[in-house]
Amino acid sequence: MSAVASHAPSQDAPPRGLAHHFRDLDQQQSAATLGMWLFIAQEVMFFGGLFLAYTIYRSEYNDVFTIASHHLNVQMGAINTAVLICSSLTMAIAVHAAALGHRQQIVLFLILTILLGGVFLGVKVVEYKEKFDHHLVPGPHFSGHELKLEGDRERHAQIYYSLYFAMTGLHALHMIIGVPIILWIAWRAWRGEFSAAYNAPVELVGLYWHFVDIIWIFLFPLLYLIS
């Protein structure tokens, strides 16, 4: 009786999180996921230009690139790779929790992801500091002394370090942008905005974070492991 009366308006009222121009939450989530993938496809091209520049300069100056890359800290690079893979796992678990509507698990695993992202960026800061200390940052203070390179070969080493800072810097920028976004999503999850029916924001930030992980999966062997 009263159940029927109160049930009727709940069918007319749009489900929580549904924008008026979508038929239902499924359609909305499919559209959002597709949009995110188009953004990622664009990001692939964005990073692709840098990978292309790297490919051409490395094929040109392979021996100088080998010498210069030996002054990167492979151990730190490997640790950071593992840290980022761990953060992808915690993100995947957070998205999994969101699909099941487990509010506390979403928050917990998003926070873990942020912490691991912080560890990655911290290690990166230590690495960058080393490069500044050893005059390996491209520019007027660059010195090939440490690398035992002079003249043209010193300039070629600057190309390597320019690519190193451009590629890892752009990657780190993506993480620096990603962390506050994850924090915002974690806050919304904490407020109980997401459910098994509506969790697209968690899924989308997950896609972004995994994409950043993939970029690093390529950067690590290309920059650190030139033998």
Binding site: W37, H96, A99, S195
Partner: protein, 124 residues
């Protein structure tokens, strides 16, 4: 009142097009990713040589192996962590075409750099 609160959980947890991947798959992928990271570092300590496949064209096998491992890792992340294996065909097409565009970008430019000078410079 109680009818409205019960209406929300009535949603089936597994809706159409939103496949829920069991957690053990994530842990398995995670383990394989870490293993492959170890392998790629290990391989980099060994010189696999650089055979000449064409006159004046050498292929550094270390780079090939490192890239094959990286592509494998990226594929695992895309298929399982990013759910593309379970995504609608349209998403799979977007993912595939982004790879194709990247191949066009790199392939066409590299083939230009690579083949410069083959025919000599006009006027010299």
């Amino acid at each position: 009142m109680s009818a409205t609160t019960q209406a929300a959980p009535a949603h089936p947890p597994e809706r159409e097009g939103h496949h829920i991947v069991p957690l053990w798959i994530y842990f398995l992928v995670f383990a394989v990713l870490l293993l492959l990271t170890y392998v790629t570092v290990w391989v980099s300590h060994h010189d696999l040589g650089s055979p000449e496949i064409l006159p004046d064209v050498r292929v550094h096998l270390n780079v090939i192996v490192a890239m094959l491992i990286a592509i494998t890792k990226a594929t695992l992340v895309v298929l399982f962590f990013m759910h593309v294996k379970y995504s609608p065909r349209l998403v799979q097409i977007v993912v595939g075409s982004s790879v194709i565009w990247l191949i066009i970008l790199i392939g066409v430019t590299v083939s230009d750099y690579f083949s410069r000078g083959w025919l000599g410079n006009p006027g010299t």
